[in-house]
């Protein structure tokens, strides 16, 4: 222990028992000690010697030395992106335009260009949460990036882990992302993964994971879904697995439901649609998976009917009654006894992605005095219809009659097709008129950059003051970056 440390330890308990011998100081400071030794004020002497000693120790301190060999990054073999591209990338990162970032990185990877070293930490940090960029990131970070990854366990494990390892050890958000990926390319494997992990998951996580089967739902899912439907403890999970089974024709689930239930849905002698609610749930229906759920405003028996109607393809009814979806919707909703099942038909149109029914429901709602279409249902139904019909909805202003939660912006964001310049101009003009009355969702306006035609950027005068609004400006910025990226 050196003199300075020694003195500080001795002074922890004060000066009472402290003996200030010459040995308190190193030999070099002997002369200094002799000039102070006659000082009878112990605390004064302690303070002076302490400072002297600290100064001596500090002045004589040296940096430590190591003989360790540290690695260097290997020389780059690919060119670094130009300064202009770097500026573009900085802007994309600043505005957090993650979709453009993915395009940018893929473009760099295609051109076999790499990113400059100072940007790499930002990109690696981004890829912790943005799973879709992980693949291109590894292609554009060059030797420097590979070397840097070896210095950061978190980045390294995030980017270099095998998907299966992420699935087994990652956070929920990461696991979900790899499941999504594997679901696209290897749906069978996604089921194997789910089967292995299923019993360890919480009910909430099971529901989230099961939702991923929405994509690529196929015959290979049947046995897993049936198993879940039979044994899972969560009603929500069971219900969702039944939804998926009903979507898969070869499961026979929807057919069986129709066969068992269709006698209950009939037309009376006056030609009025009538739904007979069963008194008990038959063993067959229970075996298919119909649950004793309770919906608000429904009796237990009505809840069974609601579930069943939500699962049967809506086209079955138009065929059975040799009628149109329009007539069926109208009559069903206007009749007090059947109107509560109208929402079940919306559910079934969404579940079975029925284009005709989706369009008809939207038309029907738009023509109601008091439309009451849920925003999520609108999004789902609108997704099904054709581009022409989507545009028709806009020009006939039908969107403005679709329900309180659906404004022009919500509608515009759902117009997920490449907009023509004319459509862009018209949409922006409409937005500039209505923008101030939209009190929510404004910050999502930047999403329109994915569809809007960049030609509008030369006609901004038409937008008036709207272009100075922060969120709208972000949209224009994103469009500009997108068009720069395209060129």
């Amino acid at each position: 222990m050196n003199h300075w440390t020694d003195l500080s330890k001795k002074l922890v308990l004060g000066t009472d028992k402290l003996s200030l011998e010459p040995s308190v100081l190193p030999p070099d400071l002997e002369s200094a000690y002799s000039s102070l030794k006659d000082n009878t004020d112990k605390e004064d002497l302690t303070m002076q010697l302490s400072f002297l000693l600290w100064n001596y120790a500090e002045g004589g301190k040296v940096f430590p030395t190591t003989k360790k060999i540290f690695t260097e990054a290997a020389p780059e073999t690919q060119p670094v992106i130009s300064k202009e591209k770097e500026l573009l990338l900085q802007s994309i990162l600043t505005h957090q335009l993650d979709d453009l970032l993915l395009i940018f990185l893929n473009r760099c990877a295609d051109n076999k260009e790499i990113l400059p070293p100072h940007i790499l930490p930002t990109i690696f940090n981004k890829s912790k949460t943005l799973l879709e960029i992980r693949e291109p990131v590894l292609k554009v970070v060059g030797e420097r990036g590979k070397w840097l990854l070896s210095q950061n366990d978190l980045w390294n494990s995030t980017l270099n882990k095998e998907p299966q390892e992420i699935w087994e050890t990652g956070k929920m958000v990461e696991r979900l992302a790899v499941l999504q990926e594997i679901r696209k390319s290897e749906p069978k494997k996604s089921i194997e993964w789910l089967q292995l992990a299923w019993n360890q998951e919480t009910a909430a996580n099971r529901l989230i994971l099961l939702e991923e089967l929405e994509n690529n739902t196929n015959e290979g899912d049947i046995s897993f879904l049936e198993e879940v439907l039979k044994n899972d403890r969560s009603e929500k999970v069971k219900k969702l697995s039944l939804d998926f089974l009903a979507k898969i024709d070869s499961s026979g689930c929807e057919q069986k439901l129709y066969d068992l239930f269709h006698p209950n849905f009939e037309k009376d002698k006056k030609g009025i649609f009538k739904i007979n609610v069963p008194e008990t749930l038959s063993v067959e229906l229970r075996n298919i998976g119909i649950l004793d759920l309770s919906y608000r405003g429904f009796t237990q028996e009505e809840s069974w009917v609601f579930q069943i109607l939500s699962l049967i393809k809506p086209v079955r009814w138009t065929k059975k009654f040799a009628t149109t979806s329009k007539i069926l919707l109208e009559q069903l909703s206007k009749n007090k006894a059947t109107s509560k099942y109208y929402k079940a038909l919306i559910n079934s149109a969404i579940l079975h992605r029925d284009v005709i029914w989706s369009k008809e429901i939207l038309n029907y709602e738009a023509n109601q005095k008091k439309p009451d279409l849920d925003k999520d249902d609108f999004n789902q139904l609108f997704k099904q219809i054709s581009i022409e019909d989507k545009q028709k909805f806009f020009y006939s202003k039908l969107y403005s009659h679709l329900g309180s939660g659906i404004n022009l912006l919500v509608f515009a964001i759902n117009c997920d097709f490449p907009w023509s310049l004319k459509f862009t101009e018209d949409m922006f003009a409409a937005l500039s008129l209505q923008y101030k009355s939209i009190y929510y969702d404004r910050d999502s306006i930047y999403l329109l950059h994915k569809f809007a035609h960049s030609g509008i950027l030369t006609k901004l005068d038409q937008l008036g003051d709207l272009r100075y609004e922060d969120n709208f400006n972000k949209l224009l910025q994103a469009m500009e970056l997108g068009s720069q990226l395209a060129s």
Partner: protein, 431 residues
């Protein structure tokens, strides 16, 4: 002078302001914008009835905006500056409007005034004030010395366990004694929680005691060191007096900039390096909440052609700008060859100014490395110093180096190193 986006964004008061400023850097947001060699100005629509008028002095990046924002510089000022840097070509070259001319004239006059002698001082009244203050300080120092002796008598552990009030009471007493430098050091004693706390606390206590002792024997000290002791006690030296001294002309690289917010006061620190004189300087300025802009608005990474006057000190570092002739392009630099040289330099500095605070230094050929959980800077001979934990661009520095040596500017604080920037292809990049 070539301004960069990073240099400008470093002026933002906070992260939210950076984001807003970037949004305002889109030319399409601006109703109009113009520039000439000296200034940039433009108009932008805000929430007010009239568009906001924004102007930037390219000489020292000073700026002004007519918006009512309390944040300074506001998003419009930074936004226009960024817009100019990114789209210089689209700025129309124009004759300065009257309002811009007036503003620039005022700035020039203010700059020139800094070098002019002020009106004569009433020396008798001044001497009376000084004598009264000296009496107060001397009395305060006696009180503090007694308190320090009591503290060490009870031991370091007892001092560490004392409540905040124990220190705050003495701090207040030092404020009353017009010794704010001592007051600040007293309150620092209340927060000694790190490793080696015994050493740290003893160092602080004995330093404080020695400052008091040095003041009571001030006449026996070297002349310049006397000024350091007075500064440590809390004496402010008159800016006019400093500016009336001989100045040092140089091309000063702004190595780094730090801002520290403390209640109603913001402290700005610009660390400079003179490329001809190889001198370092610290421009320290304080900005009250009500003050619209700080004394200096230099951007880290820029180079200014300026005359500086240094505060007298055994190790002169703090300075004032006497004349600023504006920004110039990157210039040459020199630095220490190894950490051994830095060790020697520090010893020398301590021998003339044992209370020296952290100081800037350029060291060549240092390799930033991650050694387990430690971050170090290593020289060619394997000597290394630890990087301050608070430095938050460690991976950026590591990535830029790729494990190879860089010429770095640093703040040295008792063997802890805080990187300020590095040179790459002859260009200084501030971190």
């Amino acid at each position: 002078m070539q301004y960069t986006e990073d240099m400008i964004l470093a002026k933002c008061p906070d992260e939210a302001s950076k984001k807003a400023s970037r949004d305002h850097s889109n030319p399409k947001k601006w109703l109009c914008f113009f520039a000439d060699e000296r200034a940039v100005w433009g108009e932008i629509k805000g929430s007010g009835k009239e568009p906001y008028k924004v102007q930037i002095d390219l000489k020292d990046s000073g700026s002004k905006c007519s918006c009512p924002s309390k944040k300074q510089p506001c998003k419009h000022q930074i936004g226009l500056f960024l817009c100019y840097v990114k789209n210089q070509g689209s700025f129309k070259l124009s004759e300065q409007p009257e309002v811009i001319k007036e503003w620039l004239n005022k700035r020039d006059q203010r700059e020139a005034k800094k070098g002019e002698p002020k009106k004569p001082i009433d020396e008798v009244a001044q001497a009376k004030r000084a004598a009264s203050r000296e009496k107060k300080v001397s009395d305060g120092i006696l009180e503090l010395q007694l308190w320090l002796k009591d503290t060490i008598r009870s031991g370091l552990l007892d001092a560490r366990n004392k409540k905040y009030e124990y220190f705050d009471k003495m701090r207040a007493s030092m404020i009353d004694s017009q010794a704010k430098g001592l007051a600040n050091r007293v309150i620092e004693l209340s927060s000694t929680n790190e490793n080696l706390w015994e050493e740290t606390l003893l160092k602080k206590l004995s330093q404080l005691y020695s400052i008091c002792l040095a003041y009571t024997n001030i006449q026996a000290l070297p002349e310049k060191f006397q000024e350091d002791i007075k500064t440590l006690i809390g004496w402010d030296q008159s800016k006019d007096q400093i500016l009336s001294q001989e100045s040092i002309k140089d091309q000063w690289v702004v190595l780094g900039y730090e801002k520290e917010n403390n209640e109603n006061l913001t402290t700005h620190r610009h660390w400079l390096f003179g490329s001809n004189t190889n001198r370092y300087a610290l421009l320290l300025s304080y900005q009250a909440f009500s003050q619209s802009s700080p004394d200096y608005t230099f951007l880290a990474g820029s180079v200014i052609d300026a005359d500086l006057c240094f505060y007298p000190s055994a190790y002169p570092l703090r300075a004032l700008v006497k004349e600023n002739r504006g920004n110039i392009n990157q210039t040459s630099y020199t630095g220490l060859e190894s950490l051994s040289v830095l060790e020697n330099q520090y010893s020398t500095i301590l021998s003339v100014h044992p209370f020296v605070d952290r100081f800037p230094v350029i060291v060549k050929n240092l390799v930033p490395l991650k050694d387990g959980s430690h971050w170090i800077l290593m020289d060619e001979k394997g000597k290394y110093g630890y990087i301050e934990n608070s430095f938050n661009k460690k991976f950026e520095l590591l990535s830029v180096s790729g494990g190879k040596p860089l010429d770095l500017s640093l703040l040295f604080d008792s063997y802890r190193l805080f990187p300020l920037g590095y040179w790459q292809n002859g260009e200084y990049i501030a971190l």
